[in-house]
Symmetry: C2
Amino acid sequence: MAPTPSTPWLRVDLPRLRRNVRRVAEHAATAGVALRPHVKTHKSVEIARLQLASGAVGITVATIGEAETFVRNGVTDVFIAYPLWLDDASATRLRDLAIDARVAFGVDSVEGVANAARLLGATTAEVLVEVDSGHHRSGVAPDEAGTVAATATRTGLGVRGVFTFPGHSYAPDALAGAAADEADALARAAAALRAVGLEPEVLSGGSTPSLAHADTGVLSELRPGVYVFGDAQQWELGSCPPEDIALTCRSTVVSHAHGRVVLDAGSKVLGADRAPYATGFGRLLDHPDARIVLLSEHHAVVDLGGAPLPPLGSQVDVVPNHVCAAVNLVDTVYAEESGELRAWRVAARGLNA
Amino acid sequence: MAPTPSTPWLRVDLPRLRRNVRRVAEHAATAGVALRPHVKTHKSVEIARLQLASGAVGITVATIGEAETFVRNGVTDVFIAYPLWLDDASATRLRDLAIDARVAFGVDSVEGVANAARLLGATTAEVLVEVDSGHHRSGVAPDEAGTVAATATRTGLGVRGVFTFPGHSYAPDALAGAAADEADALARAAAALRAVGLEPEVLSGGSTPSLAHADTGVLSELRPGVYVFGDAQQWELGSCPPEDIALTCRSTVVSHAHGRVVLDAGSKVLGADRAPYATGFGRLLDHPDARIVLLSEHHAVVDLGGAPLPPLGSQVDVVPNHVCAAVNLVDTVYAEESGELRAWRVAARGLNA
């Protein structure tokens, strides 16, 4: 049992976390699709184990460094959902990784896949072609997926399928529409693969906001990440009610300057994410009307909407806007259950490469 | 000499860093005021040593954890510029720290100073009263500084002086005005101390944007932080020309999706700060017209303003919006000089308490 840290610290509500993990696992099982959660949200071996024990087929990561961390800790099936541009060093790491685990990674260009094939040489690592379903970040147009996949096959890389991230689900009232776009893009990409003689084994999609709307008649795999914790973004998008939020930043009221509450939780523990639809820089779990109206590195100034100020020295639970950013700022999160705290290392923190 | 890391990684231009450190040290020396740089920007022992060797009287930090890191590495004079609300554990740490170094910390309420005095007992740690000069974050009104200072004296804590952070300098055309507010607030706070029979030894102010305008006829001490590196915020505020920017994120072009450049430097290495006046989520050092228009955890989508796209696999230097946030995301920065890289640990990374 870990001692209670001085504020600010990130607290995981372990019963809520277990419930979130189980609920999404059951959703995937009922729909008959694979669940491959994105562990970039928690970067913690303990939580990945909970997900795998609940039926996840493997994990999703964003970087080779994240993949290495989880494989070193016993995970045997990893998809790097990112259009990697390999260099000599990263190709060596990826090749080694594919000896220890079942590994796949993303590609979104003929050049990228050719570069990877050249640097990797003989490998069991497979690729999934990333397609753009409307978020307009990386990913080829669905109809071009066949060209990229054919290049992979020709240069010696196995093609597992296609994937997309419907990130445009991160907007009010966009959840169902993004899920429809996702299914459409994946279906078209699969057709493009078949047109070049390749049968996709996996059609992978999924973001937390669009999860409930994912078309599991088309998708064969879901990759949500944030659902384990929830955050203020999901709260405001309507994809996570506050009673499901499983991670908060325990913080202390350090000042009542100007008749407002100032907390010791700043952007260096909450992150500075503020989406266009966000109503502030973060919220308080037990004060639904409160908003963080000014955020600096070690100060959160809270407008409580006229409610009485929590006293100086008292502690409150802040809900970060974007939980992935908050977790990536700390080396340890503290999971609480039955009044006991356990220190969980954020094992893949900061592994951007 | 460190090997070149895989992207994304934070690169310090060491000649530029040395020049920035020297320029501000000379500015303070010429004005006859003390320089006590805020090391929250770099959190690195190596850079603190450069600052102290150039004449800084000591360092400024935001947390006890930062203070401990630097004192453990030989720094002997630390000001924690934050209205600490102590608990038993943090009071013990602060008391121990004050045995090993000259220590001061901030207070901004009668309750906060009384709580600190009660928990600290006999200590050589002194306080500075924080006053609000217009940023409206923490800090008492200048005229109330005497009441807080008198409480400190009565409860057994030594009062060193008053301080403010003119954070409202972070807006276009606000630099000189914020500096004038800063001087006015500190002068009034000093008068409030004298009215209760206390002579302030230190009147401390300073932010990087307002630095050139600081009224050194009033201020006795400057606490800028960002000046060592500069960043896109300072570039856009006019307080750091691009040729002085000493920290960038070396990143790789991983995709040309939609005819735009996608880089592997996302919010998990750049930070997600975007001030209201910012023109994007970050800039490219060698492409002044380029803007990061979409930023996610491992992707920066760049609009190059019509310029030809850097080729896939090529590397570019990103200027983060807020350099303090970027540095706090990595465990190591790499300082380059004469073609050689040195790995510098971000020793106080993540120490929020």
